[in-house]
Symmetry: C2
Subunit: 535 residues, 2 copies
C-alpha cells in the first residue's frame, strides 16, 4: 500500500512539474543581427535562459560574433556565410579615409565629405543586405531545416529587425514575434510604427533636436525624404523578391515588420526626446546595465593611484579595434597632459606620445569602471550600449562618433548637457584636450549626467525585468494582437483620411453650386421676362 | 545619565522620523470633479493617505459627493455653492423624457431625438461649466485662501481635468500637476495630447470602432468637427475670460491643460482600441478593482439559493436613483421570467411585475458580487468604473447606456464580444429578456469577458501601484517635464510642417520656372534672330 501511495505521489509530482515547466518555460527561436547588436541580444538570451526558457539561435556559418556553442542556447548553423565582418572592415577603413582626408574648411568641402560618407554607407548597407538576403534564401530553400523549425513549434521568434530574417521567419512559421529593436531596415524604428511629426521629431543621422528652427525643420523634412528613399533603394531589391517568392505577390514587404506583437525598444525618454509612442512598444533602454562589481586587483590599484583627480576611461566599442596612427598619437598626447589617470582600450602599435598616466588595455570591464567612484569621464564612440551605461552610472561623456547612429546618440546626451562631441576629422591634441577639460572641470556636465542617472534608476520596474515580462506575456497569451493598431492595415490615403476630406470638399462645393444655381433660377423666375445677360 | 541618553535617543528618533516623513510623504492638493468622478478620485486619495501623504481637498459649499470631513483628507470648503446636483437632476429627467417619448421609427425621428438629446446635453454642460467657473473665480478672488495655498507649498496638484479648476490652480501656484483623467473640458483626453488619426480613432459618443467603413469615417470626421466646435462653444466663454483675467492675454486657455506632468488615464488597451499614446500618459484602467470579499450572510444565502443557474446583478450606478415606472415594470417582468436569481439596486415604488426571484436592495456590494463565482451577468448603465470592474471579474454585460460616455464604454466591450446593448427608448420585456438570455446562454460572451479579465490581471504592475509610483515620482523629481513633448508648444501649422511644405513647394516651382526661362532663353540665343512668336 505504502509503495502504491508513494507511486501516486511521484506521479502527481511529475504531473505538477510538467504543468509548471510547460507553463513557465517557452521555446524561443532567435534570428539575431550580427556584430555589436549581438552583444545586447545575448543579454536577453542569458536572462531568458536563467528563467527556464529554451533558446535556439540561427547563425551563418562564418558568423562574426555569434558563437556556435554556448551554455545558454542551442545554435543552428546555416551552411551559408554572412561575410559581415569583411564587409564592415572595408566600410570602416573607407569611412575613416574620407573623414581624415585633409581638406579646406568650406561649406562645399563639408558637403562633399558628407556625400562621400553617404555613398560609402549606402554601398556598405547594400552589400550587407545582399548578404543577409542570401542567408534568408538559403534558410527558406533548406526544406529539412524549415521542416524541423515547423516541427519544433516555437512559442516565439525573437529578432532584431535591422535585418529582415526574423520577421520573415516568424510569418513563415506563424509564430508570435518580438523585436529587440532600435532600427528596422527602414531606419529608426518609431518612424515605421508610430506617428512621427517631422516638426519636432528629428530624423535619423541629422543630429537635430526636438526644438528646431525653420531652417532645421526644412533640413529635417529633406533628410526624411532622402533617407526613406535611400533605405527603400537599398532594401527593396533584397526583400521584395524574397517576400514575393515565399509569401506571394500580394504581401507588401515592409508590412511584414508590422507583424511584431511587442517592440522591445532599446531606448527610453531619459535618453530620447519625448515623442508619440504605441501600446505595443516597451521601452527597455539600458536593460543591459547592472551594478558595478569590484575591479581586478591590478586595475583597482591603478585607479586608486589617481588620487583626487580620478580616472578617464576610453573605448571605441567592440567593432572598432583601432584608429589610424595620426589620430591615436594626438589622443595619446592630449591624455598625457591630464592630471588624471587614463585607461584606454587600445589594440595595436603603442603610441609614441603615450604619457605615463595612461594604461593601455586589450579589454576593459566597462560597466565596473563606469560604476567606480573615481571615474570622472568616459570617452566613447557613442554606441547605444556604452551611452546607456554612461547614463546609468552618471559619468559625463566625450563623444568621438564614427558611424551609424553614434552621432545621434551623442547629440541626445549633449542636448541634455552631459556630453561634448569631437569631430574625428578635426581632432588634434588641443581640441581633444579642451573637450576633456570641459567635461572634467565644468561641473554642470557631471551634474546633468548624475540627474539622468537618477532618473534612469527610478523606474517602476527594471528595464530587463520589463523586457522579460513582455516576452513571457507573449508566450502566455500566444501573441499580443490586441495591442496592435489598425493603422498598420491601411493605405496612406485612408490613414490620412484623404478620401474623406476629398468627399466632404466635393459635397461642400456641390452644395455651393446648387445654392447658387437655385438662387439664380429663383432670381430669373421672380424677375421673369427680365432675362439678365452678363457681358 | 540614563535619562539624558534616553532623551538623546528620542531626539535622534524624532529627527529620523522627520527625515523619513519629509522624504516619503508629500503635500497634495486635490481639486476634484464632483459626482461619480469623485468615487474614483477617492480611491487614489485613500491609497495616497495610506502611504503617508497629506491630502487637502477643495470643495464647493454644497458639494454633491465630496464630504467635508474624512479620515483621509483635510477639506477646504469654498463659500460658493456648486449647484451640480440640481443641474444634473434637471438634465437626467429631461434626457429620459426625450428618450422615452413614443415616436414612429424613422430616420427623421431618430435624427430629431438625437438633436434634442444633443441640445439637452449642451445646455447641461453649459450650465455646469458656468457653475464651475463661478467656483474658480470665487477661489482666485479669495486673497486669504490663495495666500494660504501659496504658503502651504504643495508638492503636487491632483485634479480631474473634466473641469478646469485644478489645472488653473496648479499654474497659479506653480506646482507640478497630475491628472486623474479620461475626459478634459475638450472631450476624450487623448484627442488633446496624442496624435489621433480619425481614420481609426473613433471620436467620443460616436459608438464607432477602430475598423470603419468609408461612411463611418465620414461620420467620424463630421462628429469630430461638430464635437470640437460644441465643446469650444461651451467651455471657451467660461475659461477664456478667467485665463485672461488671472494669467494675462497671451495665455491660450486650452494650453493650460497641457501643463500636466503625468496623465493617469482611467483606461487601458484591454478596454480601449489600440492608438498612439504619449510618454507622460500612464494607463491605470481598473485601478479601483480589488479581489472580492465575502458577502453579508443574508446576501450570500440568497446568492447560494440560485443553485446552478446563478445570479444576475443590476445597478445603474451612483448617479441614477431610479428609472420611470414604465421602464422598471418591463425590466421587472423580464427578470421574473429568468430561472436565475436577480439582485437589483432599486430605490422607489416596488414594481408590480416583480418576480419572486428578484431581490431589491438600496445598495449593493458591487465588487464583491461581481467577484462571486455564482454571478452570471451584470446589467449596467456603462459607467467606466462598473465596466472596468466587470472586466476585472470577467462577468459579461447587458448595457443600458443613459448618457455621457456610457454608450462608448459599452460599445468597446460589445466590440470585444462581451456585451449586448439595449436602447432604453426601445426597451420592453421581450427585448430585455432576449438580451439577458443571449449573455447568459451564449457562452462566447462569458468566454470573451474571461479573456479580458485574464489580460487585465496580467500586467507588470497593478494599475493602482502604477498610479502611486508616478504620483510619487512627480513629488520626488518636482515634476516630469522631460516626458512632455515639444508638440504642445507649437502652433498647428508649425506642428503639421505647413510652412516647410509651402516653402519647399515654392522652391520647386521657382526652380521649374527658372529652368523653363533659361531653356527658353537658350533656345532664343541658339536660334538667334529667329524670334519665336506664340499665337
Amino acid at each position: 500500500l505504502l509503495g502504491s501511495i508513494n507511486h501516486l505521489f511521484l506521479f502527481t509530482f511529475t504531473l505538477l512539474f510538467m504543468q509548471t515547466s510547460s507553463s513557465s518555460g517557452g521555446k524561443i527561436l532567435v534570428f539575431p543581427l550580427d556584430g555589436s547588436h549581438w552583444v545586447n541580444m545575448k543579454v536577453l538570451i542569458e536572462e531568458l535562459h536563467s528563467r527556464g526558457h529554451q533558446i535556439t539561435v540561427l547563425r551563418p556559418s562564418d558568423s562574426w560574433y555569434v558563437e556556435e556553442t554556448s551554455p545558454f542556447y542551442t545554435s543552428i548553423t546555416l551552411s551559408c556565410p554572412g561575410k559581415f565582418e569583411a564587409n564592415f572592415e572595408k566600410y570602416l577603413s573607407r569611412m575613416l579615409e574620407i573623414r581624415l582626408e585633409k581638406k579646406p574648411v568650406s561649406l562645399w568641402s563639408k558637403l562633399w565629405t558628407h556625400i562621400q560618407l553617404e555613398r560609402a554607407l549606402i554601398e556598405q548597407f547594400s552589400q550587407f543586405h545582399r548578404e543577409v538576403g542570401e542567408v534568408i534564401i538559403h534558410m527558406f530553400e533548406d526544406a529539412n531545416l524549415m521542416q524541423s523549425l515547423h516541427a519544433a513549434k516555437y512559442d516565439l521568434v525573437l529578432t532584431d529587425p535591422g535585418v529582415g530574417g526574423g520577421a520573415l521567419l516568424a510569418r513563415k512559421l506563424q509564430v508570435p514575434l518580438v523585436f529587440n529593436v532600435r532600427w528596422t531596415i527602414q531606419g529608426e524604428a518609431h518612424f515605421l510604427i508610430a506617428p512621427s511629426p517631422l516638426s519636432y521629431i528629428p530624423f535619423t543621422a541629422t543630429e537635430l533636436t526636438d526644438k528646431m528652427t525653420f531652417t532645421q525643420r526644412v533640413k529635417n523634412v529633406l533628410a526624411y525624404f532622402f533617407g526613406r528613399y535611400t533605405l527603400t533603394y537599398i532594401t527593396e531589391p533584397v526583400y521584395k523578391p524574397i517576400v514575393k517568392r515565399y509569401f506571394g505577390p500580394d504581401v507588401d514587404y515592409s508590412t511584414v515588420f508590422l507583424d511584431a506583437d511587442i517592440w522591445l525598444m532599446r531606448n527610453d525618454f531619459i535618453f530620447e526626446f519625448p515623442r508619440p509612442t504605441m501600446p505595443n512598444i516597451v521601452y527597455m533602454g539600458g536593460f543591459q546595465c547592472k551594478p558595478s562589481k569590484a575591479l581586478p586587483a591590478d586595475l583597482e590599484e591603478f585607479v586608486q593611484s589617481s588620487g583626487d583627480h580620478g580616472v578617464v576611461i576610453m573605448t571605441l566599442g567592440t567593432l572598432v579595434r583601432n584608429l589610424p596612427e595620426e589620430v591615436s598619437e594626438e589622443i595619446a598626447a592630449a591624455f598625457a597632459q591630464l592630471p588624471q589617470k587614463v585607461i584606454w582600450r587600445y589594440v595595436g602599435q603603442r603610441p609614441a606620445n603615450l604619457g605615463s598616466n595612461t594604461l593601455l588595455v586589450n579589454w576593459l570591464p566597462q560597466n565596473d569602471l563606469l560604476g567606480h567612484p573615481k571615474t570622472r569621464a568616459f570617452v566613447t564612440h557613442g554606441g547605444t550600449n556604452g551611452v546607456q551605461e554612461a547614463i546609468h552610472h552618471g559619468v559625463p561623456v566625450v563623444g568621438l562618433p564614427l558611424f551609424y547612429d553614434q552621432a545621434d546618440n551623442l547629440s541626445r546626451v549633449r542636448t541634455k548637457g552631459a556630453a561634448v562631441i569631437v569631430d574625428i576629422g578635426m581632432l588634434d591634441r588641443h581640441v581633444f584636450k579642451e573637450a576633456l577639460m570641459t567635461v572634467l572641470y565644468n561641473s554642470t556636465y557631471r551634474g546633468s549626467m548624475q540627474m539622468l542617472s537618477k532618473l534612469h534608476k527610478d523606474q517602476p520596474m527594471k528595464p530587463l525585468n520589463q523586457a522579460m515580462f513582455w516576452l513571457e506575456y507573449v508566450i502566455r497569451h500566444k501573441g499580443a494582437r490586441h495591442l496592435q493598431t489598425q493603422s498598420h492595415k491601411m493605405s496612406w490615403f485612408v490613414y490620412h483620411s484623404v478620401d474623406v476630406i476629398a468627399a466632404l470638399s466635393a459635397a461642400v462645393l456641390l452644395s455651393v453650386f446648387i445654392c447658387i444655381s437655385v438662387m439664380r433660377l429663383l432670381y430669373q423666375k421672380i424677375f421673369t421676362g427680365k432675362k439678365v445677360k452678363h457681358e
